[in-house]
């Protein structure tokens, strides 16, 4: 059948999409396990990161900073710098948001926090729309030539290879951080039992700060990579990805960052491969169906829940 011949290429798309979803999911899992609530604004934080990068890049371009493409990639030094700055600025924004909003609601219970995050999601989305408008903004205007990998019959662009490599690198970085650094261990301890962490003398305020920094930076990365992959962004980017990200997190086990990675890859692959058989418009339905099946079969997820 014609549909099956497309599968190898779709697997490539799935790996890319899965990498992006995984990066988004790690932040959700960390927030859930340490802060105790599901942050429904996470998608819009991804969009925030993507737009901040766009804005900084426009600024640099206006200042005349060069953007000659690095090697086979479609972007150059000033974009890369914008990328890094966007991560920092998004992390900062998220810390400020925590100070103003979530910190004051910590005692109110997880549902109130979730409700606040919904309000935040809508607010962030519309702030982006206020400044940039609802129309799509092009991220990288150069059209890239894909290399063809013979034998497998798949095409892949240098940018896409970059996305996969960056995602892997970040995942390894996060893993090393969580396993080998003092703060990483404190974060894992707080995810187990934040009350005990406080009793032990762990500075839980600092743990929470790091949780937002890592979550925010990874979210921004996911948003920017989505922009690179899709070529353009709209303010709806975040909300569109939210279902896939949360499906991935639930699939892997809510609260487990490694589960988020595994879940992200599975959801990404499933969504893309499904387009061989059903319309692309229904990709979110695939994520949803997988999630519902997981909830019926093993609600704690593939790798189990933290709490």
């Amino acid at each position: 059948m014609g549909a099956f011949s497309r599968i190898p290429q779709l697997i490539v798309y799935g790996i890319i999409s899965g990498s992006i979803i995984s990066l988004g999911g790690i932040g959700v899992s960390l927030t859930y396990s340490i802060l105790g609530f599901s942050n429904f604004a996470h998608g819009d934080i991804m969009a925030l990161g993507a737009y901040i990068c766009l804005g900084v890049f426009a600024l640099f371009t206006g200042l005349g900073l060069g953007n000659t493409p690095i090697g086979p990639l479609s972007f150059g030094f000033s974009f890369a710098l914008s990328f890094v700055l966007a991560l920092a600025l998004t992390a900062l924004a998220v810390i400020v948001i925590d100070r103003i909003l979530f910190k004051r609601l910590r005692k109110a219970g997880s549902i109130i926090l979730m409700m606040a995050s919904i309000g935040l999601a809508l607010g962030l989305r519309n702030i982006l729309q206020f400044f940039w408008g609802p129309q799509p903004h092009y991220y990288i205007e150069k059209i890239q030539v894909a290399s063809i990998i013979p034998g497998l019959g798949i095409r892949i662009k240098p940018d896409q290879v970059f996305i996969i490599i960056l995602a892997v690198a970040l995942v390894v970085l996060v893993h090393c951080f969580l396993q080998y650094t003092k703060m990483g261990k404190a974060m894992r301890a707080s995810a187990d039992n934040i009350a005990l962490a406080r009793v032990t003398g762990i500075n839980t305020d600092r743990v929470i700060l790091w949780t937002w920094v890592i979550g925010g930076a990874l979210a921004a990365t996911a948003g920017i990579l989505a922009g690179i992959e899709n070529k353009f962004i709209t303010p709806e980017l975040g909300w569109q990805m939210l279902l896939s990200v949360f499906a991935a997190v639930i699939l892997g086990g809510l609260g487990n960052p490694y589960g988020a990675i595994l879940g992200g890859m599975i959801i990404g692959l499933s969504e893309e491969v499904s387009t061989a058989f059903i319309s692309t418009g229904y990709k979110p339905a695939v994520a949803f169906a997988i999630m519902i099946i997981m909830l019926l079969v093993k609600p704690t997820g593939l790798l189990g829940r933290r709490k």
């Binding site: 003092k182 261990k185 404190a186 894992r188 301890a189 995810a191 187990d192 039992n193 009350a195 005990l196 962490a197 406080r198 009793v199 032990t200 003398g201 762990i202 500075n203 933290r306």
Partner: protein
């Protein structure tokens, strides 16, 4: 709702004191109040002549007190060694000496130090919990029912370790249901019931006191 009504407890440096009493007497509440997890509606808590009433737990930890809760007292997804490391979180200097001391007290932990605590038995977990509390060299440790949910031989082992900890000069305040074993190694004891002091005496005397024995030690 008031749980404690004018309770008064005293502890001298290096002493082991046990608080016994029926369920719901307020023993755990007392311990949590001392450690700053609960705020007293009246009265004072003095530690080393400092008034610590109302201070939060992370300040009290720095003053030299440690607390081991009855349940959920370890980090299950961390290894034994990592649990101990968390105990020393506020230290910026090297504490490998201190860790060796702890392993000296709990040789079994040294063998299992790379094992995830979630997979350990109850007795091993209790050792990890106590070891974690000792990492900062506290002057006083609060133990909330250290032998609860442990088989008698493991409980005996825990009490043996408690005595060993005390030998190093740490004062220990214990809240216990398994009062007999605990009173055996205690200098003094208090009996709490319905949120009030009912009795106070040396450990030995409380053990041999027939009335106490019937009411609170199960005969």
């Amino acid at each position: 709702m008031e749980v404690l009504h004018e309770v008064s407890v005293k502890l001298d440096a290096g002493e082991i004191v046990t608080i016994i009493g029926p369920n719901g007497a307020g023993k755990s509440t007392l311990m949590k109040t001392i450690f700053g997890l609960l705020k007293p509606t009246g009265g004072k808590i003095l530690f080393d002549e400092k008034n610590i009433t109302g201070l939060p737990p992370d300040r009290i930890v720095r003053l030299g007190m440690a607390y081991v809760p009855q349940v959920d007292n370890v980090f299950p997804s961390l290894t034994a060694q990592e649990n101990l490391e968390m105990g020393a979180f506020i230290l910026t200097r090297d504490f490998s000496d201190r860790m060796d001391d702890i392993y000296g007290l709990f040789p079994l932990l040294k063998e299992r130090r790379r094992q995830r605590v979630g997979k350990m038995s109850g007795g091993e977990r209790q050792m990890v919990a106590m070891g974690r509390a000792l990492m900062l060299n506290p002057k006083l440790i609060l133990l909330d029912e250290p032998s609860a949910a442990l088989a008698p031989n493991l409980a005996a082992m825990i009490f043996d370790r408690i005595a060993a900890i005390n030998q190093t000069g740490v004062a220990i305040l214990i809240v216990e249901q398994n009062a007999k074993e605990s009173l055996k190694l205690s200098d003094r004891g208090y009996v709490l019931a319905s949120g009030r002091n009912r009795f106070e005496d040396t450990g030995k005397n409380l053990l041999t006191n027939k009335e106490i024995g019937e009411l609170y030690l199960g005969g």
